[in-house]
Symmetry: D5
Subunit: 147 residues, 10 copies
C-alpha cells in the first residue's frame, strides 16, 4: 500500500533520475501537460490505465497506480502565493478580475466558468521582442438555476 505522499516523492525522484520532463511523461500518458503534471503533484487524479503508463515510464511499481486514481484533498498553494510565478496569476485576478466578471456576464448571463469541467494549456509564443507565455483556459459555462 502506498500513501500518496510517499508515491509522489518516488515520482519526483524517478523523474530526476531518468531525466524525464513533465512534458514527456504527459505525452507518454496521453493527457494534457498541465493536467498530467497536476495529478502527479497530488492535485488531481489519473484513470487507472493512465496511472499505470506513467508509473511504467518512471520505472515504479504498477500496484501503486490505484493511489493516483483516488481524489486528493486539493489546494496546493498557500495564499497569497509568495512565489513570483504564482503571484502574477493572483495579481491578474486583483487587476483584471472585475472586468472579467463584467464581460463574462455580458456574453453569457448570470453564471460562471467551471473550474471542474475545465482544461488549461501553457505554450511558448515566439515574439521578436521577446517570447511570450500563452495560457489558454476553457471551462464550461454554468448558468445559475432559473425557476
Amino acid at each position: 500500500m502506498y500513501t500518496r505522499e510517499a508515491l509522489l516523492e518516488m515520482v519526483r525522484e524517478a523523474k530526476l533520475t531518468r531525466n524525464l520532463t513533465w512534458g514527456e511523461i504527459a505525452q507518454h500518458v496521453g493527457v494534457p501537460e498541465i493536467h498530467c503534471t497536476s495529478a502527479l503533484l497530488g492535485q488531481g487524479t489519473l484513470q487507472l490505465h493512465q496511472a499505470e503508463r506513467a508509473l511504467e515510464l518512471l520505472g515504479l511499481p504498477a500496484e501503486a497506480a490505484h493511489t493516483l486514481t483516488v481524489p486528493p484533498y486539493r489546494g496546493g498553494v498557500s495564499m497569497p502565493p509568495t512565489d513570483p510565478v504564482l503571484y502574477r496569476l493572483y495579481e491578474i485576478i486583483l487587476v483584471y478580475g472585475p472586468a472579467f466578471k463584467e464581460i463574462l456576464h455580458e456574453k453569457f448571463g448570470d453564471g460562471i466558468m467551471s473550474a471542474i469541467d475545465f482544461e488549461m494549456h501553457v505554450d511558448r509564443e515566439p515574439d521578436p521582442r521577446g517570447d511570450r507565455v500563452r495560457v489558454t483556459m476553457s471551462g464550461k459555462y454554468l448558468p445559475y438555476r432559473t425557476f
Copy 2:
C-alpha cells in the same frame, strides 16, 4: 476637476442610460474588451485619445479624459474572492498553480510570465454539450537576471 471615483460612477450610469455594453464601448475605443473595461472600472489607464472617445460615446465631458490616464492604485478584488465567478479563477491557482509553475520553468527556464506586458481575452466557445468560456492570456516571458 473629476475624482476617479466620481467619474467611474458617471461612466456606470451613462452606460446604463445609453444602454451600451462594455463590448460596444471597447470596440468604439479600439482597445481589447477586458482592458478597456478594466480601465473604466478603475483598474487601468487609457491613452488620452482613447479616454476621449470613451467619454464621447458615453456623453460625458471631454475634460474628464485626463483622469482616466492617471495610473490608479490597482487591486479591485478583496481576497479570497467571495463571488463565485472570481473564486473559480482563484481555485484554478490553488489546483493548477503548482503544475503551471513546473511547466513554465520546463519550457522557459527560471523566470515568470509578466502580468504587466500582458493581454487577456474572454470568448464564447460554442459546444454541443454546452458552450464554454475560453480565456486566453499572453504575457511576456521575463527571465531572472543572470550574471
Copy 3:
C-alpha cells in the same frame, strides 16, 4: 435608474409596511423561497417577469425590475459567521465536511456537487420531542474532466 442597494432597501421597507413574509413574496413570484429571498437580499437574480411580479406585490415601480436581473457581486456573509444561525452551518462543514467528501467520492467519483446548478429548501419537520429544521440541497454532480 435604481442602484441595487437603494432598491433592496426599498424592498425591505415595503415588505414590513405591507406586512408580507418572504414566503408570500416567493409564492407570488413562483420561485422557491430561499432563491427568491436570496435574490431580494442581493445575492442572486430574478428573471424580468419574476422581478416585476415581486415589485408589483411590494408596490414598487416596475422600471426597477431590470436591476434585479443584473448578476450581483455575491458573498453576503463575513466569515467565520458570528451569528449563531449561520455559524451552525459553518460548524457542519468543520465537523462533517471530511466525511461528506469521502462519501461523495465513494458514490460519484472524482468531482463535486455544483453550487450553481443548485436548489435548496428549508422546511419545518414536526417532531414530538421538538420540531426540527429540515434542509434539502440538490446540486448537479460535476465530474472532473478526464482525457
Copy 4:
C-alpha cells in the same frame, strides 16, 4: 493503549487492504454513513458496541474500541477550505446564508437549527440531464430562551 491518531491510521489502512467502502462499514455498524464515517475520521464518537463492530469488520483489535468512544477535539477542515468539494459548501453559506437565516426565523422564530442534535444524508439523485447530489440535513430547532 491506542492514541486516536494511530487508530485512525490503522482504520484507513485496513479499509484499503480489505477493500471496504465507508458505506459498507456504516451498514455493518448500523449508523448513518456520514456519521459513521465522521467518527472513523476522528470527528465524532461511536457507542462501544458500534466501535467494536467497526473494528471487527476491519480486523482490528477490539480493545481499541474504547478510543472511538472518547469525544475528540472536533474541527477537521482548515477554513476557508481549499478543496473544491468542501469549498462549494462554504460558498453555499456565502450566497444562501442570509436567505436561510430569514426563512428560518420566519418559520420558527428567534432560534437556530442545532448542529449537535443533527443528522445528515448524502444520496445520488438520478436525473436525465446529469445525476444530482442530494444532501438532507435535519437539526432540532432550538429557540432562544425567553423570560
Copy 5:
C-alpha cells in the same frame, strides 16, 4: 418604521437623559439584566409586551416595539477583543478551555453546553480582600445524536 440601529441609538440616549441604569430597565421589563441589556444593545430579542414596557420606561414610541422582537444578526464583539473587560473572558477560554472540555465530557458525555437555551448572571460578591465579580452561566446540556 424604525431601523434597529436608529432605535438602539434612541434607547441609549433616553437611558442617559432619564438617568436610568440597565438594571432598572431590566427590573421594569422583568427579564434578567444581561439578557434585557443584550437585547437593547441589538444582540437579542424581547417579547412584544417586554419591548413595550422597556420603551414606555424610556419614553419612546410604542410602535417601535416590534423592531425589538425581530431576530438580529448577532455578534457584537470584534475578535480578539481589545477591551480588557472582554479580553479577560477570551483569556479564560485560552487558559481554562481545555480543562472545561475535559470536565464537561467527564460529567455529561459527548455533547455541549447550549449557548441558546442559556442564562447568565453577573453579581457583586463581597469579599474582605476585595469584592469579586461572580458570573453564573446555565446552559442546557445537548448530547450528540446517537444511532
Copy 6:
C-alpha cells in the same frame, strides 16, 4: 529531568491505564477540578506538595513534580475554536459580551474581572426538561488606577 510535554503525555497515559477521572485526581490533590485539570494539561501550575500527590496517584516518579510548579506559556486553544464545546464559550462572548461589560461597569465602576485571581467550577444541574451545565466564575474586581 522531565520536559513538560513528556510529563503531560505520561500523565495522560497513566490516567487512562489506571482508569482515573480528572475529578478523582483533583479530589486526591485537593484543588478544584478545573484548576487541577488545567495544570495537568499544561495551562497552570500546582504547588510542589500538590504535584507530588498527583504523581503519586498516577504512579509517576516524584522527582517530576518540580516540572509542574514551573509557570507554563499559557494559551491552549487556537482561536476561533473549531470544537463546538469551546466555540459555544466563544459565542457567549460574541453575543453577551457587550451586555456583560455594561453591567459590570454599572455594578463596579471602571475596572475588570481578574482572570488571574480567578476561580471556576462546572457542575451538573438536574432539570426535568434536560439537565443543564452550570458554570460559575469568580474573579477579583480590579479597578483602574485613579490619581
Copy 7:
C-alpha cells in the same frame, strides 16, 4: 448630551486653538501625563472633578464632564501597529518578551504584572551621545490563585 467621539474632537480642537500641550493639561488636572492624555484620547476615564478641570482649561462646557467618566471600549491601536513609534513597543515584546516572562517568574513566581493597577511615565533622559527616552512602568504583581 455629548457622545464621546464628539467630545474628544472638541478637546483636540480646543487644545490646538488654545495652544496647550498634553503636559500642561495633565498638570492642571493633577493626573500623570500618559494617563490624563489617554483618557482625553478615549482610552480611559477621569474622575468627575478631574474631567471638569480639564474642560475648564480647554474652555469646554462643564456638563460634558460626565462623558469622560464613563468607561470606554478600550483598544486604540490596530495591530500590528504601522506607525514606527508604536511598532517599536511591539518589537520590544517580540524580542524581549520571552526574557521578560522568565525574569518576572524568577523574581515573583507564577503570576503577572497588572495592566489595570498600572502606572506609566515617559521622560527625557539627557545623554551626551544623544538624549534617551525613558519609559517607566509600575504594575501590581498578581499571583495566580493557589488552593
Copy 8:
C-alpha cells in the same frame, strides 16, 4: 559545530541541572538580566568573552561560544500573545499607545524611541498593598531626518 537550537536546548537543561537562575547567569556574565536572558533564549547576541563565561558557568563546551555571537532571526512571540504575562504588555500598547505617541512627540519632536540602542530592566518594588513589578526602558531618541 553547534546549531543555535541545539545549543539553546543544552543551556536550558544545564541551567536546570545546575540549579542556576537567569539572574545568577547574567551576574556572572556581567550583562543586564533581560539582555543576557534574551541572548540565551535565542533573541540576541553576546560578545565572545561573555558567551564563554556563560558556557563555563553552565558547564558547556567553550567552542560553542561562537554560535551565541551570531545575530539570530529575532521574534520569539507569536502575536497576539496568548500567555497572560506577555498579553498584558500587548494590552499596554492597545490602551496607552496613542497617549505614548502624543507625549513622545511633545517632548522630543518627530522621531521615535529606538528598540535597538535600548536597555530594559525588571525589578521588584515593595509595596504594603502588594508588591509591584517595575519595568524601566531606556531607548535612544532617533529624530526623523530633516533636510
Copy 9:
C-alpha cells in the same frame, strides 16, 4: 484650523489645477522628492519654513503650514499591497530579504539599517535595452547595544 486630511486633499487638488509635479514642488521646497512627497501624502513632516514654501507654490493659505509639521500616524499602505508597483517592493523583501540580512550582518555586525535616519531616491537610469528604475536608500547603521 485645518485637519491633515482636509489639507492633503487641498494639496492634491491645487497640484492638479496648477499643473505641478511632485518633483517641482520638492525642488521649490528644497527637500528630496520622495521625502517631500511623502510629507504631502501624510506620511511625514516638513519644517515650518518648508511647509510654507510648499503651500505658497500651491496657492494655499500659509496658516495651514503648522499642520504639516505635526508628526502623523504613519503607515499608508495596507499589506500585502495589491498595487503592482508596491507589491514588487514587497516581493523584493520576500526574495532578497534573507540574503540582505546575511550580508548586512557580515559587513556591519549585529544591528540594523535605520528607517528613521534614512534617505531614499528614485531615478531614471537610461539603458539601451530599456530604461531602468534606480532606487538608492541610505540608512544609518544602528548596532544593538552591548554591555
Copy 10:
C-alpha cells in the same frame, strides 16, 4: 541526488567550517553578493558553472550543482517580518511606498519597476556621524501594455 534542503544545509555547514563569508563565496563565483547569497539560501538559481565553482570552494560534491540551477519556490520571509533587520524594509514600504508610487509614475508613466530583471547591492558608506548602510536597487522599467 540531493534535495535542495539537504544541500543548503550542507552549504551552511561548510561555510562555517571553512570560515568563509558570503562575500568571499560570491567573489569566487563571480555573481553579486546579494544574488549569490540568495541562491545559496534557496531563493534563486545559479548557472551550472557558477554552482560548480561555489561547491568547489565549499568542498562539496560537484554533482550537487544541478540542484542549484532548478528554480525554487521563492518567498523566504513570513510577513510581516518579526526580525528588526527585515522589518525596517517593510516599514519603508509602509511609510515611503505611496510617495515611491507617485514619483515612479511621474518619471516613467503607467508601469512598474521589475523585481525579476533586477539587481541589488548593499554597501558600507563611511560617515563621521556613524557609518551608513547603502542599498542600491536597479530594476527594468516595465510599462503597462497600450493598444
